[in-house]
C-alpha cells in the first residue's frame, strides 16, 4: 500500500470525530452537566461559563441536549443503514442471480423509488405512517435500500458468469449456496464502502425529517428538532447553531471515512480519481 490510512489526514480526522461522538453517545449522561429535559434555567441565555452552548426557549441547557442528541442520531443511523443494506443486498442479490421476472419486478420498484427525490419520498412515507422517530427511520430505509440493491445486482451479474461460479455449480452447489459462498465475498467490499458513504446521508435525512416535524417529537433532544427550534428563535443563534454543527461534523466525518475506505478497497477508483 502506497497510502496507508495513517497517511490520510482526512480519514484520520473523520475517525477521530466519529470516535469522539461515539464516546459522547455512550457516556452522555455522565458527561452532560445537566438533565437535557430539565427546564430550570433562565430562558434563551447566551453561551457562558455555566452554559457553554447557552439555554433554549424553555430554559434547557443546549450543551446537555446536543450531547444527548448523539444517543439518538448515531445508533439510529447505524441501524437504518444496516437495515437498508440488508434489504437492498438481499433484493439485489436475488434479482441479479435469478434474473427474469424477479429481476424485472425488483428493479422496477427500485426505479420507482429512485424517481423521487429522497427527501420528498421520505417525507411522504413518514407523513403517511405518522410523525414518530421510528417511522422516520422506516422512511429513510425505504428511500435508501435501492442503491444497495442496484450495486449488489450489478456485482452479482458480473460474478455469476465467472468460471469459479460455474465450477462451484459443477461440484454440486445449489443456486443459493453459490450466491452466499462464492458471490457474497465479491460484493462485501463495495457494499461496505457505499454504506460508509451513505451513513452521513442517512444522518442528514433523519435530522431533516425531525427538523420538519416528522421525526423526533418534543421534548426529545434530537439535533434536527433542535435546529427547528433554533429557527423559531433566530436572534438567539446558539439555539440552532450548536446542534447544526453536531450534524455537520458527523456527516462530514462519515464522508471522509467512506472516501478513504473506497480508496483503500478499490485501487482502481483511487487511481482514476488521482489521474483526473
Amino acid at each position: 500500500m502506497t497510502n496507508p490510512p495513517w497517511r490520510r489526514p482526512l480519514a484520520l480526522a473523520g475517525l477521530a470525530v466519529i470516535g469522539a461522538w461515539a464516546v459522547i453517545a455512550i457516556f452522555a449522561p455522565l458527561i452532560a452537566p445537566d438533565n437535557p429535559l430539565a427546564q430550570k434555567f433562565t430562558i434563551l441565555a447566551g453561551p457562558s461559563g455555566a452554559h457553554w452552548f447557552g439555554t433554549d426557549e424553555l430554559g434547557r441547557d443546549v450543551f446537555s441536549r446536543v450531547l444527548s442528541g448523539a444517543r439518538i442520531t448515531l445508533p439510529l443511523a447505524v441501524i437504518l443503514i444496516i437495515a437498508a443494506m440488508g434489504i437492498g443486498a438481499i433484493i439485489g442479490g436475488v434479482a441479479g442471480f435469478f434474473g427474469g421476472w424477479v429481476d424485472n419486478i425488483a428493479m422496477r420498484v427500485a426505479d420507482l423509488v429512485f424517481a423521487f427525490p429522497g427527501i420528498i419520498l421520505a417525507l411522504a412515507v413518514a407523513a403517511a405512517l405518522g410523525p414518530q422517530l421510528r417511522n422516520a427511520v422506516i422512511a429513510v430505509v425505504v428511500v435508501s435500500w435501492p442503491s444497495y440493491a442496484r450495486l449488489v445486482r450489478s456485482l452479482v451479474l458480473s460474478a455469476r458468469s465467472a468460471q469459479y461460479v460455474v465450477a462451484s455449480r459443477l461440484l454440486g452447489a445449489s443456486g443459493l449456496r453459490v450466491l452466499f459462498t462464492d458471490i457474497r465475498p465479491n460484493a462485501a467490499g463495495p457494499v461496505l464502502v457505499l454504506a460508509a458513504l451513505d451513513i452521513g446521508n442517512a444522518v442528514l435525512l433523519l435530522s431533516g425529517l425531525s427538523f420538519l416535524g416528522l421525526g423526533a417529537q418534543p421534548p426529545t433532544a434530537e439535533w434536527g428538532a433542535m435546529v427547528a427550534e433554533g429557527t423559531q428563535n433566530f436572534n438567539d443563534w446558539w439555539v440552532g447553531m450548536f446542534p447544526g454543527l453536531a450534524i455537520l461534523t458527523v456527516v462530514l466525518a462519515f464522508n471522509f471515512i467512506g472516501d478513504a475506505l473506497r480508496d483503500m478497497l478499490d485501487p482502481r477508483t483511487a487511481r482514476a480519481v488521482r489521474n483526473i
Binding site: 462451484s168 455449480r169 459443477l170 461440484l171 454440486g172
Partner: protein
C-alpha cells in the same frame, strides 16, 4: 472392467436466433471405471456441450434427448436436487483455465473443504485434514500452508493441481477434464497428465479428457473418440487411432500436428492443414458433415448420413467409403 458411464443416442439442441440446432447429434459412448478416455475435436465440435450435459448444466433452453447412465442411473431423468448430489460426489469437472476456475478471494482451504463437507457430511477438522491430504496427493508442497493461501499466490500449473484437488475432494467416480492443459506450458502439461494418470490408477476413477490436442491424448488416454460437428467420427483404442486412423478427419488432425519426436529429416515434413473450417451451428451440411472438407468425399457422402459402425474390435467408424482402409 465394469462400464461406469454409458451415453446412448445423446442429442443436445441449443436455442439460437434461428431456432434450435443440434450441438451434439446422436452420440453414444461408454467409459469404464479406471479408464482414461479422450474426446477430441475442433472448437465447436460439441465436446464441451457433451461434458456439460453429463452435469445437467447446459445453457438455459437446451433440449436433451437420449440417455446418460451412470452406473445404471439415468442422469437425464434426475431432479435438480438429485443432480446436485451427483455433481461433485459422483462426477466432477476440472475446467480449462486454472486462472479463473478458483475463487480469487477465498483461501484454498475453504474452496477445498466447502463441497467436501456438504457431500460427505464431515466436520471441519476432518475436512481440513482430508484437504491437506488431497493437496499432498496432487503434489503441492507444504499443504498446511497452501490451505491458508489464496489462488493468486500459486503459479498456473499449481493452480490446475489445486483445481484438480478441489474436483477430487468428494471422491467422484468420474472426473471430466475439459482441456485441462490448454492454458499451461508444455512441461507443466506433462506433469498434469501424469497426475491424472496416477489418480486414475490409484483410485480406480474414470477420467474423460476433452481436448483438441491429439498429442495430449497419445500418452494418457487408452481410448479416444473423435467428434466432428456434434457427431462421432471415429472411436477406438488410442494407439490404433493415432497410428492407423481410418476417418479422413482423424487423419487430417494428425497431419496437422508437428512431429518433432520423429527425428531430424522426418520432422521437417510440412504440416498439412485441413482446408475450410468446421460448420457453424445451424449450417451443418446434409449427409456427412465433413464431406465439404474431405479429400476423399464421394457423391453419396453429400446425401447419406454415415452412422458409426464397428470396423475392428472396439473400433467405430462413421465413414462408409473408408478410404483409409488398412489392408490386413
Amino acid at each position: 472392467m465394469d462400464e461406469l458411464l454409458r451415453v446412448e443416442h445423446l442429442s443436445v439442441a441449443l436455442p439460437t436466433r434461428s431456432g434450435y440446432h443440434k450441438a451434439v447429434d446422436d452420440l453414444s459412448f461408454g467409459v469404464d471405471a479406471g479408464e482414461i478416455m479422450g474426446i477430441a475435436g475442433e472448437s465447436g465440435s460439441g465436446k464441451t456441450i457433451t461434458a456439460l450435459s453429463l452435469f445437467g448444466l447446459l445453457p438455459p433452453g437446451a433440449r436433451v434427448t437420449g440417455s446418460i447412465r451412470l452406473d445404471g442411473t439415468d442422469l437425464t431423468a434426475l431432479s435438480g436436487k438429485q443432480l446436485r448430489d451427483v455433481r461433485g460426489r459422483q462426477i466432477a469437472m476440472v475446467s480449462q483455465d486454472p486462472a479463473t476456475a478458483l475463487h480469487p478471494i477465498l483461501p484454498v482451504g475453504t474452496q477445498l473443504t466447502e463441497h467436501m463437507r456438504h457431500h460427505l457430511g464431515i466436520d471441519k477438522t476432518e475436512a481440513r485434514s482430508r484437504a491437506a491430504g488431497l493437496l499432498k496427493t496432487v503434489r503441492i508442497p507444504d499443504p498446511e500452508r497452501a490451505l491458508r493461501a489464496y489462488p493468486g499466490q500459486f503459479s498456473g500449473g499449481m493452480r490446475q493441481r489445486i483445481a484438480i484437488a478441489v474436483a477430487l475432494a468428494a471422491e467422484p467416480r468420474l472426473l471430466v477434464a475439459d482441456e485441462p492443459t490448454t492454458a499451461l506450458d508444455v512441461t507443466v502439461q506433462a506433469g498434469i497428465l501424469r497426475l491424472l494418470d496416477r489418480l486414475c490408477r490409484e483410485r480406480g476413477m474414470a477420467v474423460i479428457v476433452i481436448t483438441h490436442d491429439l498429442g495430449v491424448m497419445s500418452a494418457t488416454a487408452s481410448r479416444l473418440a473423435v467428434m466432428y460437428s456434434g457427431r462421432l467420427a471415429e472411436a477406438g483404442p488410442t494407439s490404433e487411432l493415432l497410428t492407423r486412423p481410418r476417418h479422413p478427419y482423424t487423419r487430417g488432425l494428425l497431419d496437422a500436428l508437428p512431429h518433432p519426436e520423429a527425428g531430424p529429416g522426418m520432422g521437417t515434413a510440412p504440416l498439412v492443414p485441413i482446408g475450410g473450417s468446421p460448420p457453424s451451428l445451424g449450417r451443418v451440411p446434409d449427409g456427412c458433415p465433413f464431406h465439404p472438407r474431405c479429400p476423399y468425399a464421394e457423391a453419396t457422402c453429400a446425401t447419406a448420413r454415415p452412422e458409426p459402425v464397428p470396423v475392428a474390435a472396439g473400433h467405430l467408424l462413421a465413414c462408409p467409403p473408408d478410404p483409409l482402409r488398412v489392408s490386413a
